[in-house]
Symmetry: C2
DNA sequence: TCGCTAAGGTACGAAACGTACCCTAAGTTC
DNA sequence: GAACTTAGGGTACGTTTCGTACCTTAGCGA
């Protein structure tokens, strides 16, 4: 929570413009998302928190959903460096746990709300999807590729739908269970009961 | 679309009560869901369409989300008879295609909206989940059980998380792709690239 | 026949989206 | 350095929709 964004020390009108103001708005929106979720993401409140008004927001984003997606993108960006623990199981567990820790606490509820908020606008849906979903497709293929190089997995496993199954199952937990953080037992179950049997089973089956 | 629910032939006030009125409201709400989706599910419009007013609705459901979930349940109930084609692949394909035909056209968008609309109310989320998600868990276990009996799958495959993987992947398509109906190639890909390798791979891997 | 319950009609307050209008500060150009 | 253009600030407004309140009226049972 970065608190209010009005420049505190300057009494006179020191007016932010352009990218600076845009950053302040996005930060305020992201904070609101974290605190109150997407239903609590009110244009008036974001404007107030950013120390500006709705005009400045609507000049940049056409509606609340677009602002929500943009703010959400700020929350979940960053971590795309795939782990390298030396084993496929270790890498997959690390990936899922990282998602569960860094993203999950707000993501479950917020993502669920946003998926609805974007409604019929496919552009926003695509952006959400690229942020959350198969934005990580490359990551998973990297991890799997190393496993293939080590002989842990057959080359046939390098298939996007196969590679991302673990992420899909984890996201399904977020969406359908309504939990903010998934228990680690569920993660290990996904890995040991589904993902690794799927990957390795393809080697012999 | 069942149209307006006001009794057409009777000019005088012929007032419906109890279960009859409740049915009319639910049907009106379901029709609104089909026509306009959850965002278009307005209490005033449902009341008007059902030929009643908001009082009668709020006396039965505490808020819009509850009415939405109840109406949605009407839309997706019915089909729970598992298919029996003689092969696991045939059964799984039949299940997914049935879901894709009977449910999908409205389900994708509506489900996405509802998942958000229920927001923080876990009871409604659980009801949604039981209607859409693991309401089918028993179905999938039945299908898998027959496959085990035929020797098509190992008994270890009779695990809820494993059994429902195909459904989870299909639902993931609905939620993240924003399509009302999934192409059949995606369904066969889910079955042939993920589900069957997962089930059969466990036999040998 | 007489109440009691529930439905109908309507109006209202609150919240929030999105728009409009005018004023003013920050850059920009000459 | 002055005029001009652009963009931010403040505010008010119209609209929609949720959820509530209040009163009237019809159906049903005792």
């Amino acid at each position: 929570m970065s608190g209010e964004q009005t420049v505190p020390g300057s009494p006179g009108p020191s007016r932010r413009r352009g990218a600076v103001l845009e950053e302040a708005i996005l930060r305020a929106a992201a904070d609101e998302l974290l605190e109150s979720g997407y239903p609590g993401l009110t244009m008036d409140r974001v404007a107030k928190r950013a120390g500006t008004n709705k005009n400045a927001i609507y000049r940049r984003w056409p509606n609340r959903a677009a602002l929500g997606v943009a703010a959400y993108s700020r929350l979940v960006k960053a971590q795309t460096q795939p782990p390298d623990t030396g084993t496929l199981r270790g890498d997959v567990l690390a990936l899922l746990r990282r998602i569960n820790c860094d993203q999950a606490s707000p993501t479950g509820e917020i993502l669920r709300s946003l998926l609805a908020g974007v409604g019929d606008e496919p552009e926003l849906l695509a952006e959400l999807q690229s942020q959350v979903g198969d934005g990580g497709s490359a990551t998973w293929l990297t991890v799997l590729g190393r496993a293939v190089a080590r002989g842990e997995a057959p080359p046939k496993a390098l298939h996007p739908r196969v590679a991302t199954v673990a992420l899909t199952l984890l996201r399904n937990e977020y969406v359908t269970q309504g939990l903010s953080r998934i228990p680690d037992t569920v993660i290990t179950e996904i890995v040991d009961e589904v993902y690794l049997p799927l990957i390795r089973g393809r080697a012999t089956g």
